[in-house]
Symmetry: C2
Subunit: 336 residues, 2 copies
């Protein structure tokens, strides 16, 4: 099960039997609109606060996944997941609605793969028959909390990223049809001393590189094993930084093979500066778009590396640098 | 492994080979001072913010546990844990210092047992040889964030509780000597419509009752199986509410057998109103005081039920009720 120091290999290959992905109006205009189960035309989702709207994203994505699998919510044993809002109320409140036993996870934008790693682990070892795992974010809820009220019209530098409004959830089972989760590598906290919260991608890149290299070493794999190695939300700058690091370390990852969810979700021309971010970014892109492409036969093996910046507005104000983390999970479909 | 819907039985009985508990000045004057590894005489721990002091609590408790086990920190594979501060920076920043692969957990004051449940699960199924799990809180960091700056001298009602300054960490292994983790039941989010953040104990009591009753049913145990059933931080009022509920449901839990960490840690006369609270409460009381009593032979089997209130200052301001959760873990030592 344990391979090396921090990699788990899932011999039972838990199955992603269904997923649910919900997005907002900006995602509806994005490049991957067709891969969402549900898109909302306004940010409020008929709620009276952005945080409540955020909660509804999680509820709807979970309901979609349960419905598509033909299950009842009472059959789902656990929900593993989280978000970026203080004390994670959107996810916790959604679990109140669902009624599912709940394991709250916090890994900032790495939460999607923290949840898939732990969820697959539980299913692999017969700790659950069915469980849900997911992550989410809401653009204006996050902006309000981390930066300024958007109404202020504060300027952002070109290194900044755009927080996705969306929730992505996967329903895992020990049997059934669908893409299979085959291994996971858990990240360490890496801090290269960067302090600019408007350049998260650059700060997170070394954490992504650390986890990817640990994964390849501990599983004794060549990067070519994967058709795609996809990071969560490094954006343009973080992607460049990490490609430079791979080159420096002699890790043979080809540029075409190395993509970023934050660079996929929006269209050219949408004002997203260095790309998308937020826990909902990798969750919706992987559980929607990428699994759809796997089902079409475009990829047989992918490694998803969700990256998270573990700062808070207060830690930034107190002059702290930005500690980052990345968790990697491999998903395979088709082939032998 | 899975018994019933949400209970895991650990057939390998992972061992708590060592623990680390660190407290602040108020805990040093408390009833359990002798059970802490380290007590600080002031709240700042030589740092320039309470949040940084909070981080040091986690670092020191982890270092103590590693040292007492005679290990090097490089041998520890994972840290599973969290705290109450926005985006959990104290725990994440402590993991930056430790360098250990990190799985961030959020369950408010239930985090201690969420971590012990998942940690024991990983060790039980050979997903780790050594791992750390823990939870922590810092009185003034939490007061500042959740209520008012303490300098305002705001009045509190007698239902309010006092947040513990402390970190409690356990080092788990698949072999060695020490108390053994034998099972865990994961909580659902329960919300009885209470809205008063100064009466958390009352709000959390139904969640504790739900998890305890699920645990007994799914493991098919009579409450008398346990020498002690101990909740995290229900305080006087929450304990009374839960005893009433047990009576109403016909669950035969004796009053003497049912205790609360929040009612143990301080001395009579310390101004803690309805009792202690905070993720550090159950973590320090269980990993210090209660395991010491188990080692002295006072208890052979205990069930620890850590309770958490999943609110945020914002959710309260938005008129939301308080969703609560409780996770239960059984620990056994000695006997057959």
């Amino acid at each position: 099960m344990l391979t090396g120091h921090r990699t788990w290999v899932f011999d039972q290959k838990p199955v992603i039997i269904s997923t649910g992905t919900v997005g907002g109006p900006f995602e509806a205009k994005g490049a991957l609109a067709n891969d969402f189960d549900l898109l909302h035309s306004d940010l409020w989702l008929k709620q009276d606060s952005y945080e409540k709207a955020h909660k509804v994203l999680v509820e709807e994505a979970s309901q979609k996944a349960i419905e598509k699998a033909g299950l009842q919510k009472e059959q789902v044993q656990f929900f593993l997941g989280g978000d970026l809002i203080n004390q994670m109320t959107p996810t916790s409140f959604a679990c109140r609605t669902l009624g599912t036993p709940y394991l709250g996870l916090f890994g900032a934008c790495s939460t999607s793969m923290e949840g898939l790693a732990l969820g697959a682990y539980l299913v692999n070892t017969k700790g659950a028959n069915y469980l849900l795992t997911g992550a989410s974010s809401h653009n204006t809820a996050v902006e309000k909390q981390f930066r300024y009220p958007t109404e202020y019209g504060g300027q952002k530098p070109p290194t900044a990223q755009w927080t996705v409004t969306g929730a992505g959830v996967a329903l895992l089972s020990d049997s059934g049809e669908g893409p299979r989760v085959t291994s996971a590598t858990i990240g360490r906290v890496i801090d290269m001393g960067m302090t600019d919260p408007f350049n998260m991608g650059g700060a997170m890149a070394p954490a992504a590189v650390d986890t990817i290299e640990a994964h390849l070493t501990e599983r004794n794999l060549d990067p070519s094993y994967y058709d795609l190695i996809v990071t969560g939300d490094l954006g343009h700058i973080g992607r460049e930084v990490s490609l430079d690091l791979f080159k420096k370390h002699g890790t043979p990852i080809r540029e075409e093979q190395y993509q970023d969810c934050g660079l996929m979700i929006y269209r050219e021309g949408q004002p997203v500066l260095s790309g998308a971010s937020g826990p909902g970014c990798s969750a919706t892109v992987v559980y929607g778009h990428l699994l759809n492409r796997m089902k079409k036969g475009e990829f047989k093996r992918i490694l998803v590396v969700a990256t998270g910046a573990l700062l808070s507005p207060l830690s930034f104000q107190q002059g702290e640098t930005i500690p980052c983390i990345a968790h990697a999970v491999s998903i395979e479909y088709g082939g032998e």
